[in-house]
């Protein structure tokens, strides 16, 4: 089975690979894994004034998992938290033309986005609570 051109492109030139310091201001970290295939994905967002100004990822897994997370970081940049919540795995499947056996990679990416957003919201919520 061949990967689509877009998957190959993201795999060869991954966008936004790397990481932020977890405890830095405005950082949300999502760390997820797929127990069935052993893939691990870390996705981080940097938020300023409710907008995602930067995003980074690190993925250990197959080409589709890397491409899914790479694409996710591209999409996240410039989005508000609320807009980011709307990203669905099916959007990733469509954009990357993922075959049925690789759909779980896009699910993993969506989970990572959700986890990063939740982590950011929890951290900023804690801070507002502490300030009150």
């Amino acid at each position: 089975m061949a990967y689509s051109d877009k998957v190959v492109d993201h795999f060869n030139n991954p966008r936004n690979m790397g990481s932020f310091k977890k405890d830095e201001e405005g950082i949300g970290t999502g760390m997820v894994g797929a127990p069935e295939c052993g893939d691990v994905m870390k996705l981080q967002i940097k938020v300023q004034n409710d907008t995602i100004v930067d995003a980074k990822f690190k993925t250990f897994g197959c080409g589709s998992a890397i491409a899914s997370s790479s694409l996710a970081t591209e999409w996240l940049k410039g989005k508000t938290i609320e807009e980011a919540q709307q990203i669905k795995n099916t959007d990733i499947v469509q954009e990357l033309n993922l075959p049925p056996v690789k759909i779980h990679c896009s699910v993993l990416a969506e989970d990572a986005i959700k986890a990063a957003l939740a982590d950011y919201q929890k951290k900023s919520g804690d801070k507002t609570e502490a300030a009150q």
Partner: protein, 237 residues
């Protein structure tokens, strides 16, 4: 559906009771109709343990499993169905395929456990497993070292240092994988003992869920470790 709640009572190794496709009599035999002796298809609801007449346990008598598998492989061998009807040929072929998969699954302790956990999934899914963040961080860090090694000149000082580091990592991870497998083995024994007791008290149910969750977590973590080890081996040879 009220009458269909729990049938754990007498699990005396029967195929799901149904009608013989040929003579319409009730089939109570294992794979062949008692009356017309025609081969019967393995029911979709029959779990792999029942296929081989084994109790649903995580420790399996390997010699018994193998003997039963060979016996059934002979019983469904295409050679014996050449002169039979098309329906019988199709059924025996289907049975042989199912039993092959069943045998491969039950033969391997890890696959067997994964399969049993799937059978028990109803209650496992309710238990939220938390992703092992520390292990993930470790795997991703190791991934960076692997990248650096792949990019380095293997004969260079840096290349040699990275290689030594990776060799050490591989040994450590393989040790951990082995430890996980031993721990799993202990859980398997605990699970079987609990099943043997057949206790339905609340305490036993809690113990059951605890064991299922621990097994689920360990099996997942083992897969993560196994994958990174495979990657390591492929890179440093």
């Amino acid at each position: 559906m009220a009458h269909h709640t729990h049938t754990s009572g007498s699990r005396d190794l029967q195929m799901a009771r149904s009608m013989c496709w040929h003579c319409q009599s009730e089939v109570s035999g294992e794979y062949f109709c008692d009356r017309c002796v025609k081969v019967q298809p393995v029911s979709k609801e029959t779990d792999y343990f029942t296929c081989f007449g084994l109790p649903r346990r995580l420790t399996v008598d390997q010699s018994k499993l193998e003997a039963k598998f060979y016996e059934l492989s002979r019983a469904f061998h295409p050679d014996f169905y050449q002169n039979k009807s098309e329906a019988e040929q199709t059924i025996s072929l289907g049975n042989a395929a199912t039993l092959n998969t069943a045998y491969r699954t039950l033969r391997d302790p890890i696959q067997r456990a994964e399969y049993l956990l799937d059978l028990e999934a109803g209650s496992v899914k309710e238990i939220r497993t938390s992703p092992p963040s520390d292990l993930f961080e470790e795997i991703l860090e190791l991934q960076d070292t692997l990248e650096a090694y792949r990019a380095s000149e293997s004969a260079s000082e840096a290349g040699r240092t990275l290689r030594a580091q990776l060799v050490a990592e591989q040994a450590a991870l393989e040790g951990r994988k082995h430890e996980m497998e031993q721990q799993l083995q202990r859980l398997f024994t605990g699970w079987d003992a609990l099943q043997d007791r057949g206790d339905a008290a609340a305490q036993a149910r809690a113990e059951r869920d605890r064991l299922l969750k621990q097994m689920r977590d360990l099996l997942s973590n083992r897969t993560y470790v196994k994958n990174i080890v495979t990657d390591l081996v492929a890179t440093i040879g």
